[in-house]
Symmetry: C2
Subunit: 404 residues, 2 copies
């Protein structure tokens, strides 16, 4: 089998953990597999480098930050190659330039354009374990870029896709995807499997959305599992098998605290309002999540939407400076909200799911600020202080439907 593995920063934080991971890789290799292993920077190294940069220039350019940060993953792969060599394993470390991972010019948050597989395949042919620096790419200027935080997952899935790997193992510090955060919900259960779409909708901490998108598009066989234990983890699949097509499946409850709600009140020109706002935000590369527009009368409307907290300052500044052309009366924002979602591929045909969620929140006196639904998700915006409670009561309500 050709296996792509990914280990995060915690898994390679010090010499002891590097040696432990090296043994795991060696085991898979000695079992007859071809191994490509993507690594993150060691433990807190990325944060320490950012701190160094901040000390010198709090407004450091993204290009130079990328030049600085990409050294972290390069160190990890070199050290892992040394650890594998010590075990007698043939291994070679490669950075983004060497594997030819071409990315867009967008420093700090570039997208993968393509991966030239020549070098990786040549090293596999030589019998080498190939260690790839995650999180980084090369842009059209020949400069180093980074793919956004947590993007080592994306690197691993993208490599698995282009190599048509038999398996992509995302080895992390949790042992799989749970029906809810087990630190908050005591009886949360580990899922044996989850669909690509569900993992996308869960916007869960354990797996980067962009990685899930690539996995889905290229149908990468993906497993999320612990780098410490031998437990089986959670398999990510295209579709769940079901013995009964009418079963109601909810895969999990998740909470996202990185939510900033922005509202524009009294906008004139109802029809173009949404377009005008979101064109401005798109120009700043700001993604918008939940959008709510009141029906409005007399060509006047109110629009609310959410963005990530880090984008909220920019979004507010852009909207402020375009007050005239947008034609609104008042701009407000709220940073103390959380988004609680239930996700499940089985809920499409079940209108009762949303109702049951609202009921659980109502019974526990939790106000809903905004609602958003998709084919496989119901998300509500509530007060952040009630997020944990909401997660618990919603999880309890669906306990009988949970398919793990």
């Amino acid at each position: 089998m050709l296996i792509v593995q990914k280990y995060g920063g915690t898994s390679v934080a010090n010499a002891e953990r590097i040696n432990h991971v090296a043994e795991r890789i060696a085991d898979s290799y000695l079992a007859g597999n071809q191994m490509v292993v993507v690594l993150s920077a060691q433990g807190s190294l990325t944060d320490r480098l950012l701190q160094k940069a901040h000390e010198i220039n709090p407004q450091a350019s993204k290009r130079e930050l990328d030049m600085l940060l990409t050294t972290g993953e390069q160190q990890s792969v070199a050290l892992m190659a040394m650890a594998l060599n010590r075990l007698g394993m043939p291994a070679v470390s490669l950075n983004a330039v060497q594997i030819g991972l071409e990315a867009t010019d967008h420093y700090g948050n570039a997208r993968i354009k393509c991966i030239r597989t020549g070098r990786i395949l040549a090293e596999l042919d030589k019998g080498n374990i190939v260690l790839v620096a995650g999180f980084q790419g090369v842009n059209s200027h020949g400069d180093l870029t980074t793919l956004g935080r947590g993007a080592s997952n994306t690197t691993a899935v993208a490599i698995a896709a282009v190599l048509n790997a038999d398996l992509c193992e995302n080895c992390t510090d949790v042992d799989g995807v749970y029906t809810a955060d087990p630190r908050v919900v005591r009886d949360a259960k580990k899922l044996a499997s989850i669909t690509y779409d569900e993992i996308l909708e869960m916007s869960c901490q354990v797996f980067h959305n962009r990685a899930a998108e690539i996995a889905k598009r290229y149908n990468v066989k993906l497993i999320i599992r612990s780098s410490m234990t031998e437990e089986s983890g959670t398999e990510v699949v295209a579709q769940k098998e079901s013995s009964n097509m009418e079963d109601l499946y909810v895969s999990g409850v998740s909470v996202d605290r990185d939510v900033a709600q922005i509202s524009l009140w009294g906008m004139r020109g109802r029809k173009a309002a949404a377009f005008n706002i979101f064109a401005l935000l798109a120009k700043e590369d700001i993604s918008v999540d939940i959008i709510l527009q009141t029906p409005g009368a007399n060509n006047i409307t109110d629009i609310s939407f959410t963005v990530s907290k880090q984008d909220s300052d920019t979004a507010l500044a852009v909207l402020e400076s375009n007050k005239e052309s947008l034609g609104y009366e008042k701009l407000t924002h709220n940073l103390s909200l959380a988004k609680v979602s239930i996700v499940g591929a089985g809920m499409t045909a079940s209108p009762g799911v949303a109702a049951a969620m609202f009921e659980a929140l109502y019974e526990n006196d939790i106000d809903i600020v905004m609602i958003s639904t998709s084919e496989i998700k119901v998300a509500v915006l509530i007060d952040e202080s009630k997020a944990e409670k909401a997660m618990q009561v919603v999880h309890e309500k669906f306990a009988s439907f949970l398919r793990v």
Copy 2:
């Protein structure tokens, strides 16, 4: 003017020093110069990375060590770009891949093959201060190599050569080249100038021999000066100007403790002896310094030579395992010697110089183990414990001849 500057690890060891160096670079830039600046890794970073590697694998491969170590200089250039940006200066950091510094495949101690100037020139044209990661190159496999310790000097001089720079400033933690180590010889004086050949013969700590060779070959205008003060430093020139052609010039006294003496006794086949030995050592990439062969009788001879201490184990092993074919009786070595040299372009025509040196050593009861002379140098091998004393008495003897 197009100026290439080089700053060593001490000069960029922390945020404060980086900011200080950034101000110096900015001053030169604002004075109307085009600036290319080569940097080493911060302070003890290279040693700390080596320590990390050693913890994981004491016999780490040179390829992986190079992959690890090259991150140090990349961090320095990124941080310096941030510091310059904060001063409002346009700056861009580049690593070996980006400047196209092609080197030989020899990991850990590669030689520069060529530097593609396209990217550097393009950045200079844009008005950027160009920051180049020293010490590193890319080999024919597209892999990173390092150019040997202290090789950031070599990078700087090589870049100055290919760009045909007006000036190459080697900014370091000493303020120039002295007639002797000022920590040992109290009345040592700073040289206003020194020739390329002299600096080569001095094998001094402040400047890498390979850098001096490139500077000489390409006639790079070179200055060695402090990165802390505005003092003028020592200019490295092709030839010293002299008002009187018959003047006796001695530029300095230097000591080199990295000396291992190896002797082969009772070698048969006197004529081929030297060739046989040094062909074997060359195969191992071991440089030999002083060589002494006794005239010998009956086709039997003794040969002594010196190598650097780090090469002595390999050299002894090779000689040991070829005892039969080399045909010697006994192999001995001595690691407690030091080489003391006097260097001066003016001594060519003055046989009295060597005699005066021997006299100083004789008067002070310092035994000479071996002697080696060149056009501009007289070097003696003495007991290491007497190295400082030798330096002092020799410096004193030549005090009247010193041209600073």
